[in-house]
């Protein structure tokens, strides 16, 4: 598959020093000396903007659309589930639209603005945003449809984007949200009034629903009065790294371009990073397998109560220059000779290009994410028992120099770095504590009998931040361990890098195999201190993968079984000291690895009823052998003996 290089254009036209503090403005700061009431009543008339009566038009327009009519007539012809008249289906569609649709109203937005301003000022030290890109986004909005694709790390994301648009006089986006929000009484109404619409998490078999959703989204593309916002990752990433993209919504949204309904669609990715995430603890427990609490209004309010008065540090928002889809994917010219435009479907080529675009967009999101200072601090403190401010400054400077090339450095300058670190330490005082007068640490002394789950949860909170460093620097990290463990010849390094790129693609979006040129520049970037930090951060991922591979090789074939076994095995591993990484207790990687193995042809998904089991298509022991090279002897020995024991027990049975 040809990859879509969305960077090329930007590189050519943008000055490399674009991420200096100068470009950034603080949108909360602006409000600090103003009454919130003034803010919420400010003159706000962006162009274009959703018509105040839009909701009514949308339903009529969708019902009158040729596509919708066609689907209705087809359903009538097929005579599915109690569908007996045109009117009957129209009622169903109206119900879906009512459940789904936003009820955009400027009044609500102003009220939300009032509270948001208060909340942001209360919780955060500031929200930094690259102003010049916002101006470009604003200009793109006046030219045609725009998709805003933010990273998704927190519920605060979409509030923030709307707030930002309101502040910067950009039409507020309509936002695709998961139907789970519907469970929150009152709050769901407020969000709908603010432009959120709800779609079910999966609706593959519901032709009517599929048609209504796609018509709904495409209505907003074709009548571009407001940008459409959705999350490419499909869900909040709970681990600080980008998730593999979901293609469905993007395909729907881009269809009008491929069909020729609009000349072009522009995409702005928005990378939002938090010095401290609201949900940090929640995520850690979810990764350990404690289910996510159901969204509810009371839960929401109590969460608001809990976080009030705490310091969540700085937020960084990096808006990309608008990416023109037309510049990257050309439309087909061969005639669609016997398909009317309302039955347009994307062809294989277009699907593969959209797929490729989606991956490139999440890569861009990951790469553009401004590294929070806390990511560097916690990474440094994960490797070192304790460090003082000067040492921490040294780490920040060191990583910033590498991040310039492989990611986006921390938003600090020589004269602000110390203050930034102090602010960050203050925000994270719950996990980074003062070990002595000058020294800071995040590795508490482990007392006997401490609950391993609680300890692991703490580690996983840390990992959410360290991953924000490992994510962009993954290639540097992998290069470091390849070089250290086995290979000196560049051809060997390239081969090894291909292995990692293949099996960790879903875990680390930016991972690639190397070319000769890459090796040269990776060599330049390498520094023993840096290699050491990154190597340690990467290690638990290799261990998890290794254990998962063993479990699959042992014949566990459903995600549930593997999760259960994984938890048992890892508990024993940690108890016996075969690994020192508590992080490996997290089970969130399992499904990503399994799906990756499916993609790579080692496993095959077999669906029986509601259960999916994964059958081995070939021998995966070569992968195990390969990954073993990079692991600690203790873990290898443990797994080998564990498998022998299991085989023994099975033979006894």
């Amino acid at each position: 598959m040809e990859s879509i290089d969305i960077e090329k254009k930007d590189m050519a036209t943008t000055d490399p020093s674009r991420f200096t503090v100068k470009d950034y403005v603080d949108i909360v700061e602006k409000q600090k000396y103003q009454f919130d009431a003034f803010f919420c009543l400010k003159f706000w008339r962006p162009k274009p903007n959703l018509h105040p009566e839009a909701t009514k038009f949308i339903a009529d327009s969708i019902l009158e659309s040729p596509r919708m009519k066609d689907v209705i007539h087809q359903l009538l012809l097929e005579g599915h589930n109690g569908v007996n008249s045109y009117e009957n289906i129209v009622v169903q569609i109206k119900t879906i639209l009512e459940e789904m649709g936003h009820t955009y109203s400027l009044g609500t937005i102003r009220v939300i603005g009032f509270f948001l301003a208060k909340l942001l000022r209360n919780l955060y030290q500031g929200v930094a945003i690259n102003n010049s890109a916002v101006l470009k986004l604003s200009k793109a909005m006046s030219e045609g449809p725009v998709l805003i694709l933010p990273t998704h790390r927190s519920y605060a994301d979409f509030l923030l984007i709307s707030y930002l648009c309101y502040t910067m006089d950009i039409p507020l986006p309509v936002i695709a949200a998961g139907m789970d929000f519907k469970g929150m009484k009152f709050v769901n109404r407020v969000l709908q009034n603010a432009g959120a619409f709800y779609i079910r998490r999966s609706f593959g078999h519901d032709q009517l629903y599929w048609a209504v959703v796609s018509q709904y989204i495409q209505y907003h593309i074709k009548n571009f009065q407001a940008p459409i916002e959705f999350f490419l990752e499909g869900t909040r990433s709970r681990n600080g790294k980008s998730l593999p993209p979901k293609i469905g919504l993007l395909s729907m949204a881009l269809e009008p371009y491929f069909r020729g309904d609009v000349p072009d669609i522009k995409i702005c990715t928005v990378s939002i990073t938090y010095e401290r995430t609201l949900e940090e603890n929640l995520y850690a427990w979810e990764a350990l397998g404690v289910p996510k609490p159901r969204e509810s209004t009371s839960g929401f309010l109590s969460a608001v109560g809990k976080i009030r008065g705490q310091n969540y540090g700085q937020i960084y928002v990096n808006v990309s220059d608008p990416i023109s889809v037309r510049d990257h994917i050309s439309k087909r010219t061969e005639p669609n000779w016997n398909t009317p435009s309302f039955r347009f479907t994307l062809n294989e080529y277009e699907k593969s290009r959209i797929h490729s675009l989606a991956w490139n967009l999440v890569s861009k999101q990951q790469k553009d994410a401004i590294t929070p200072v806390s990511a560097v601090l916690m990474s440094a403190l994960s490797v070192n028992k304790q460090l003082n401010i000067d040492q921490l400054v040294e780490y920040v400077v060191l990583f910033n120099s590498v991040l310039k090339k492989y990611g986006t450095p921390c938003l600090v300058q020589d004269d602000t770095v110390v203050q930034a670190i102090k602010d960050c330490l203050d925000a994270h005082k719950l996990i980074i504590f003062r070990a002595s007068n000058e020294f800071f640490s995040c590795q508490p002394a482990i007392s006997e009998g401490a609950d391993i789950q609680i300890l692991a949860a703490d580690r996983l909170v840390l990992q959410q931040y360290t991953n924000q460093l490992l994510g962009p620097l993954i290639n540097v990290a992998v290069f470091g361990i390849i070089e250290a463990k086995c290979a000196r010849e560049s051809s060997d390094i390239i081969n090894e890098s291909m292995f990692f790129a293949k099996y960790f693609k879903d875990e680390f979006i930016l991972i690639t195999s190397y070319t000769q040129n890459d090796i040269a520049s990776l060599n330049d970037a390498s520094n023993p201190m840096l290699k050491n930090v990154l190597g340690v951060l990467l290690q638990p991922f290799l261990e998890s993968f290794y254990i998962i591979l063993h479990l699959i090789a042992m014949g566990f074939s459903t995600i549930k079984e593997i999760q259960l076994q994984y938890r048992n095995v890892v508990s024993t591993i940690l108890a016996e000291g075969a690994s020192s990484f508590l992080e490996i207790l997290a089970i969130d990687k399992i499904s990503r690895h399994v799906l990756n193995l499916v993609t790579n042809g080692h496993l095959c998904a077999v669906k029986t009823g509601n259960n999916t089991s994964y059958q081995q298509m070939d021998d995966i022991s070569p992968i195990i052998v390969k990954i073993e090279t990079y692991l600690d002897e203790r873990l290898k020995r443990f797994m080998v003996s564990h498998r022998q024991k299991t085989v023994l027990i099975q033979s006894h049975l």
């Binding site: 040729p66 005579g79 593959g204 078999h205 005639p335 000779w337």
Partner: protein
């Protein structure tokens, strides 16, 4: 794809599974005509089994009183006795109730030629097929006099060896691939209403003959309200197409007299014409795009464009190809909203000349209504004979009308002719049309004869097709044939042809014969003329009479062409008009046809043997 969303997407796409043609998977709407056509249709004559003319004696044996009725309840004409018809039939064509000639029963069937390889491959497909005699016989013929005579009292030497029912484009592809592989002949058939011998099997065909019945490809794949086109599988029967479109508020407006039984694909393959072509166009105007399967692969339009300039129109290779190049499988056809108003009208003219002049002027002024026809005097008389019984008051009105026309207006009842008119459109459009037509009518000595007469003319259209069967019952052979003529030759062609046939009949000393003509279509540059010719064959055998008839039809065609008429307006060439092609086409044209054939069908799989092909 690398993630669960990809899986989900795949599921979604599978569910929405349209194949590459944008066709939705779903239950099929059945055709109104069953696969076993003989269950609904008459196997040895026209139309529905339950409908037709019946002659019965209402009096006693000594004092008989014969009356015609029309059976069934499908047609308006069936609602009342036809008290005047017997007198007309007796006087004009010599129908003698005593000399009824019953048709033979179900004949024996020639054993099929079986290509084992083809049949065993066919069994591995999902395509249904039949070796049953009646299924094969039903598809061995069209509706020429010759075909019907053989069914009633003769024997087909060659009938299809197997009937197959493909259900979609890809089935047809499969079939034609198999046929090419095993060198088997394919003859496609739609409604089987041709009158040119187009689906009749060639006697010399030694290969297995597969009758490819398109009737199960009968779905409307989509309707595009925005562009007013529908994409339809070719086997759909005209009436089904019309009913289903009307349920959505649309019509194709294509209404050939056979539309209850003929198929879309058949219309395309014969270059059909419909009654209301003035408003909606002939089939070649209606087809926006088409798709066909040839032995050398797919043949299709480049897209559903309103018009293109990309070299010669390649759609026309298939339109009118009469089954010799490929099988038309899907057609994108124009549709129109059903007009709010349909109004009938009629004019009486003192003679045929005046009527033709009226038609000419309407064409010159380009104010053609949806349909415009001119009946000659014989047909006028015939139409009068078919009028239903009325109470005494009705008779009185008829008498008054007669009085008014003949005594006050001085018309000769033996010379007058009638123009019938259908107007469609909005109330306003129709009013304007009517006003214009009335003006022109009066200019050419026409007398408006009311809505009722016009309406009856059109209602009779479909029932009249049943008349040949009752004629054969009483020793009358009859057939219709058409031509197209430039305006300045219309009257000559009609007069010369009638005169020639009258002479030939006199020479042969027929007791009764009937020759009539009508102008059924007007164009800018000319008109379409329809001839009806029949005679009472007295003591000849039916098959002898058919031979004589064929001789006379050839004489008539020669006369038509010598007087300036064409070989065919819309029936096509088939097998019965092949012999004239070398004289009307240049050798270049014939060579081009052969080149096309050798490109798309070098093995002559599509062996219908029509047009210039063997």
């Amino acid at each position: 794809m690398a993630d669960s969303s990809a899986d989900r997407l795949a599921v979604i796409h599978r569910h929405l599974s349209r194949d590459s043609d944008g066709k939705a998977a779903g239950p099929k709407v059945p055709s109104s005509i069953p696969k076993k056509r003989q269950e609904l249709l008459r196997w040895n004559g026209w139309g529905y089994e339950d409908s037709g003319f019946v002659l019965s004696n209402l009096g006693t044996e000594q004092n008989p009183k014969y009356v015609f009725t029309f059976s069934g309840s499908r047609y308006e004409i069936a609602s009342a006795d036809l008290p005047h018809f017997f007198d007309w039939a007796y006087a004009t064509i010599g129908v003698d109730p005593a000399k009824k000639k019953d048709p033979q029963g179900e004949p024996s069937y020639p054993p099929p030629i079986v290509n084992e390889g083809f049949v065993s491959d066919l069994k591995n497909t999902k395509i249904t097929f039949s070796f049953e005699g009646m299924d094969r016989l039903f598809r061995a013929h069209g509706h020429t006099l010759h075909d019907i005579a053989l069914l009633r009292g003769g024997q087909f030497l060659r009938i299809p060896d197997v009937v197959v029912w493909p259900e979609c484009h890809s089935h047809v592809e499969e079939l034609i691939t198999l046929a090419s592989k095993h060198n088997v002949a394919i003859v496609p058939i739609g409604g089987g209403t041709n009158v040119t011998g187009a689906v009749d099997c060639k006697h010399g065909e030694k290969r297995m003959i597969v009758s490819l019945d398109t009737s199960q490809m009968n779905q409307i794949l989509w309707i595009d309200d925005g562009n007013l086109v529908a994409h339809v599988e070719s086997g759909i029967i005209g009436k089904d197409l019309e009913d289903r479109l009307q349920a959505r508020g649309y019509t194709t407006g294509h209404e050939p007299d056979s539309y209850e039984f003929s198929s879309l694909g058949g219309w395309v393959a014969t270059r059909a014409s419909g009654m209301k072509k003035n408003r909606y166009g002939n089939i070649e105007d209606l087809v926006v795009a088409l798709r066909a399967v040839t032995p050398n692969g797919e043949w299709r339009s480049s897209g559903t464009y309103p018009r293109v300039s990309t070299g010669p129109d390649m759609n026309h290779v298939m339109i009118g190809s009469e089954g010799t190049l490929g099988v038309v499988t899907e057609v994108t056809i124009k549709i129109r909203p059903v007009p709010p108003v349909r109004k009938y009208a009629s004019f009486v003219f003192p003679d045929f000349d005046c009527g033709v002049k009226f038609m000419r002027q309407v064409a010159r002024d380009r104010c053609q209504p949806a349909s415009l026809r001119l009946m000659d005097n014989q047909q006028f008389q015939f139409g009068q004979a078919l009028r239903p019984s009325k109470g005494p008051f009705g008779l009185m009105v008829d008498g008054l009308k007669n009085f008014y026309l003949t005594r006050l207006k001085g018309l000769d009842i033996e010379k007058i002719c009638v123009a019938t008119i259908v107007m469609e459109g909005t109330v306003k459009e129709v009013a304007i049309q009517e006003e214009k037509l009335t003006g022109i009518g009066i200019e050419f000595q026409g007398i408006p004869a009311g809505e009722h007469n016009g309406k009856r003319g059109y209602q009779l259209t479909f029932a009249i097709a049943y008349i040949r069967d009752i004629g054969l019952d009483y020793g009358v052979v009859a057939e219709s044939f058409e031509t197209s003529v430039p305006w300045d030759r219309v009257v000559n062609v009609v007069n010369n042809t009638k005169s020639r046939l009258e002479k030939e009949c006199a020479d042969r000393k027929f007791s009764h014969s009937f020759i009539s003509a009508r102008v059924t279509q007007v164009y800018d540059a000319g008109a379409c003329i329809y001839f009806y010719f029949g005679f009472n064959y007295g003591n000849m055998s039916m098959l002898q009479a058919v031979e004589v008839y064929e001789e006379l039809e050839i004489i008539a065609r020669d006369e038509i062409m010598a007087s300036g008429g064409s070989l065919s307006h819309h029936h096509g060439v088939g097998k019965i008009r092949k012999k004239w092609l070398p004289s009307i086409l240049t050798s270049n044209a014939i060579n081009v046809l052969h080149s096309i054939k050798s490109t798309v069908d070098p093995q002559n799989i599509m062996a219908a043997g029509n047009l210039v092909f063997d």
